[in-house]
Every structure is written in C-alpha cells, then in structure tokens.
C-alpha cells in the first residue's frame, strides 16, 4: 500500500526523495508523506505560515512500544525537528531545518573498527536490521538549559555492541559523524574541528538506556535530527548524542570529544546532566522545557539516576563533569 498525502505547505523537493529511499531501505515499509499527522498539522499551519514545514521521514514498521516513558507531554514534532544544534548545517538552532533539507541519508555505511571481533564496513541495514526497533520516550536536556521530551525510535546500543564482540582491550567506544562539506555545508567553516566526534566509556555504552536512534515519532529521523543514525544517551547533555554516525571504534584509551576539544573547561568527556555543576557561563540548575514559560528544576542525570548513577559511584562529578 502506498500512502502519499500532500499538504499544501509541502515543498516540491519531496517529489525527488521517495523512489531513491525506497530502493535503499528494505525494512522501511512505506513512503511517508511529509506531514506527521493531520491533527497536529491543522493547528500548526497558521503558526508556520512563514517557515518551512519540517518534513517527516518514512514510516517505520514493526516498532515495539517500550516502558521507557517519563509520562510527560511530548514536545511536538515540528519543534523537535526545527530547533536543532547541528553545526554541520549551520550554527543557529533554526538553521539545520533549512540547511539539511536536501541531505540524503542513503546509501549509508558505518565503519566498525578497533578492538572488536567483527570490524568492517556495514551497510546501514546490516547494522540495524538484526535488532528490533523500539520506541523510547526520553527527556532530552541540552547543555544550553532547554529540554524536550522526544519519542525516539531505535535499537539498543548494547545489543549492537554485543553483536560486534568487543575484545577485552575495548574500554571506550568512539563515534564519528560524516565528514562531507559538500553535503554538510557547515563543515566549510571550522567552527568546530570536523568531523564531529563523541565517545562513551564502554560500560556507559552498554547501559540499557543507551540508544542508537534511527527515527522519531514513528518515522525515520529528519536529516536535521541526525539521519540516518544517531546516538541518544538521555542522562547526558544533548551534545553527547552524536548525529549522522559513519564510524564506530572500540578503543583502549578515552577518545577525544568535539566540544571538549573546543572548550575543555566548559565541556567534559562525561557531560552527565548535573544541576550542581554549572556551565562556567550559565547555571545548570534549571531548564526551560520547549513550549513552556516557566523554567523547571533540572534533575541529576536528567532523572535517570536510578539507572546510571552506579556507573559513577566513586567519581567526583564536579571534577569529571
């Protein structure tokens, strides 16, 4: 069955994508229309009279609902997909939705390297398809003191890691974003050192909360949210959630991370959400949930302390921020 609903605010470039993507991704059943749902659409139409409507991805099939759900109101799709820190597509948070409009996240390969039994070049679907897709609703806390609640779709990072069989030497896992200034125009300027890199301690990566996300709101990730593959570690600040991943390396030593490299006294390797440890230039005690007027208190580990606090039991979190 082919469903294509064209809304009046959709742009013509949508016409080009479907056939191409359809060939690339077997698993994804249907060619999605750009609008997420008519219900949200009606209300938002007037609000976005002057803005490009963020196009939604393809509908994902066989997504398992999970118990990961803080029970808080979801941040609407148009806000999740139009307010993004993704410097590869521009340094303003309103820029990636435009800058990534023509980004084609297919075909996509991920290189697996380092201390593991199964290194090599993996096609996106070879890496992801063996694992069940889960929907997990997570709080998302940006280091800039705003937050969202996002219904991610993805696979358990721990499951993927187990399949790749890291050796005893693997103590960390390093991630790398695509480096391609032609497709990611923000990389023409060295605002950060490209490619963007991130990393986790292996035991952090093995925590059940860690998610390799391929979608949100039941559909494939919009490019500005890190298509086709991004990391989601909800107890850490958003910048740990590296986007458009092309390389995963198991390492013995702690890998470099982009924001730490850019400003080490402001952004640590761990970057756990911590209301007690301020960013040198602003407080982290509170956050503004997108769509709300009043700030709310930020929770230690973004509210996921019961799952992750034990990872840092003997650590001085003011030192290892």
């Amino acid at each position: 069955m082919l469903i294509k609903i064209r809304k009046p605010w959709e742009l013509k470039d949508q016409d080009v994508t479907p056939e191409h993507l359809f060939k690339q991704r077997r698993k994804f059943l249907k060619i999605g229309a750009a609008a997420l749902a008519g219900g949200i659409g009606g209300g938002m139409l007037s609000r976005h009279a002057f803005a490009a409507w963020p196009a939604a991805g393809e509908l994902l099939a066989d997504v398992r609902k999970t118990a990961f759900d803080p029970g808080e109101a979801l941040t609407p799709f148009d806000q999740v997909s139009s307010y993004n820190n993704f410097y590869e597509f521009g340094t303003g948070k309103d820029e990636p939705v435009y800058g990534a409009k023509d980004f084609k996240p297919a075909p996509w390969t991920v290189e697996i390297a380092g201390a593991c039994a199964k290194p090599g070049l993996y096609d996106f679907s070879d890496l992801i398809d063996p694992h069940p897709l889960e929907e997990r609703i997570y709080r998302h806390r940006c280091v800039e003191a705003w937050s969202m609640v996002v219904p991610w779709v993805g696979v358990s990072l721990a499951d993927v890691i187990k399949r790749l069989e890291p050796t005893s030497k693997a103590r960390y896992i390093a991630f790398e974003t695509l480096l391609d200034p032609d497709r990611m125009p923000g990389q023409h300027r060295n605002v950060l050192q490209w490619p963007y890199v991130e990393g986790l301690r292996l035991d952090e990566a093995m925590n059940p909360l860690a998610l390799l996300s391929v979608g949100l709101y039941g559909r494939t990730l919009p490019p500005q949210n890190g298509a086709p593959l991004r990391l989601v570690v909800p107890w850490k600040y958003g910048f740990k959630g590296i986007k458009s991943i092309v390389k995963i390396t198991f390492t013995e030593d702690q890998p470099p991370t982009s924001w730490n490299r850019s400003s080490a006294h402001e952004y640590g390797f761990y970057a756990n959400v911590n209301p007690e440890v301020d960013h040198p230039r602003w407080s982290q005690a509170k956050e503004r949930r997108i769509g709300e007027f009043f700030k709310q208190k930020t929770l230690p580990f973004n509210g996921y302390g019961s799952e992750v606090a034990s990872l840092y039991a003997d650590m001085d979190l003011a030192k290892f921020f």
Binding site: F50, A51, S82, Y83, K93, V191, L192, S263, I290
Partner: protein, 201 residues
C-alpha cells in the same frame, strides 16, 4: 559642508522608521508564529542583536561626517542613540520579566557570577545615563564640555556590548567578530581624525 538633497524632516522621519523596523519586525514575527520553538530565547537574542546594531548605527554619525562631510547624520544622532537605548532597555526588560520572570535571586546571581551578564549590565548603566542626559536641559546643566566628555562613554558601551556578545557565544565567533570589526572601524575613524586634528594644531 554638503547639503543633503532631501529636507531634514523627511530624512529624520525615514531614519526613525528604519530604526523602528526591527521592533516592528519582532511584533510581526510574534503574531505570525515566527519566533520558533524557543520564543523566549529568540526574543532575547533578537533584541540583543538589534541593540548592538542600533548602537553601531548611532555611532556611525560622526564618522560619516568625518569621511564624507555629511552633517545630517549628526542631527539624527540623538534619535539614533535613543533607539539604541530603547533596544537595550527592551533586551533588559525581556531578560528580567520573561527570561527570568522576576526571579530576583537568580537575576542577582547571574549579574554577579556570569561575566557576560555583568558586562551587559555595564553597557546598560552607561546607555541609561546617556539617555537620561540626552535632552537640551541636561546639556545646559552639564555644560557642553562635560556633556561631550560624558557622552564619549558611548564608545565604552559599544565595546562592552561587543564583549557581551562575544563572551556568550558557544563556538561560532564570526557574528560577534563582524560587529566588533564594525565598531573598531568606527572608533578607528574617530581616532584617526583626532590625531590629524592634533597634528594640524
């Protein structure tokens, strides 16, 4: 001295409307849903950006006279400067009333603890003083010499404004650098003319 082609009144009116433009733009954006996902942050940055730009416009009056011999910008200077103050004041009011919603404890902590906010407050204090002494009565009371000396602090406000912008940015220093370069150019023209004047005396 060159005379402008348009009558002064029309120039004044045009300049006033241009200076009001960003404010009108903000209102239009607000009513058309153009403030994005985080309207409070948007308004804060928008007003901060335009406060600095309005200040740079006001600061260009004298350099325009030095370089092109135009005198009409000088006559607009007070109006331009008051617009700059208006944007700075709105930026401040937005911070107090919307961003922090009168949470005085957080506001005081911010001002004391966060250098870029301290710097911004410094610029606000200077521009408030200048705005308060921008009328004819104040000029008379202070005397032209003292008044001129006090109002030269507008450059200090410009420097603080650029510094404030520069130090709140996370990684992309280009936008604050562009503003700082404009300020440096304007300040440079004034200093060049000052040096030249001294040399000819």
């Amino acid at each position: 001295m060159k005379k402008s082609i348009l009558p002064y009144r029309i120039i004044w009116g045009l300049a006033f409307v241009v200076m009001a433009g960003p404010l009108i733009g903000l209102v239009v954006l607000a009513f058309s849903g153009g403030l994005g996902a985080n309207p409070i942050e948007f308004i804060n940055r928008y007003l901060g950006d335009w406060a600095l730009r309005a200040l740079l416009v006001a600061l260009s009056a004298t350099p325009l006279k030095i370089v092109f011999g135009w005198t009409w910008p000088i006559r607009l200077r007070r109006m331009l400067g008051l617009w700059a103050f208006a944007y700075v004041a709105l930026h401040f009011v937005n911070y107090i009333a919307i961003e922090q919603f009168f949470n005085w404890q957080d506001i005081v902590t911010d001002i004391v603890k966060r250098t870029y906010i301290t710097i911004g407050m410094g610029a606000l204090v200077i521009l408030s003083t200048l705005a308060a002494t921008s009328n004819k009565r104040a000029i008379k009371r202070l005397g032209a010499k003292d008044w001129t000396r006090i109002h030269r602090y507008v450059y200090a406000a410009g420097i603080l404004g650029c510094w404030h912008y520069f130090s709140m940015v996370k990684a992309d220093l280009l936008p604050p650098l562009i503003h700082a370069a404009v300020l440096a150019g304007l300040l440079g023209i004034r200093m060049w003319s000052l040096v030249k004047k001294r040399a000819t005396v």
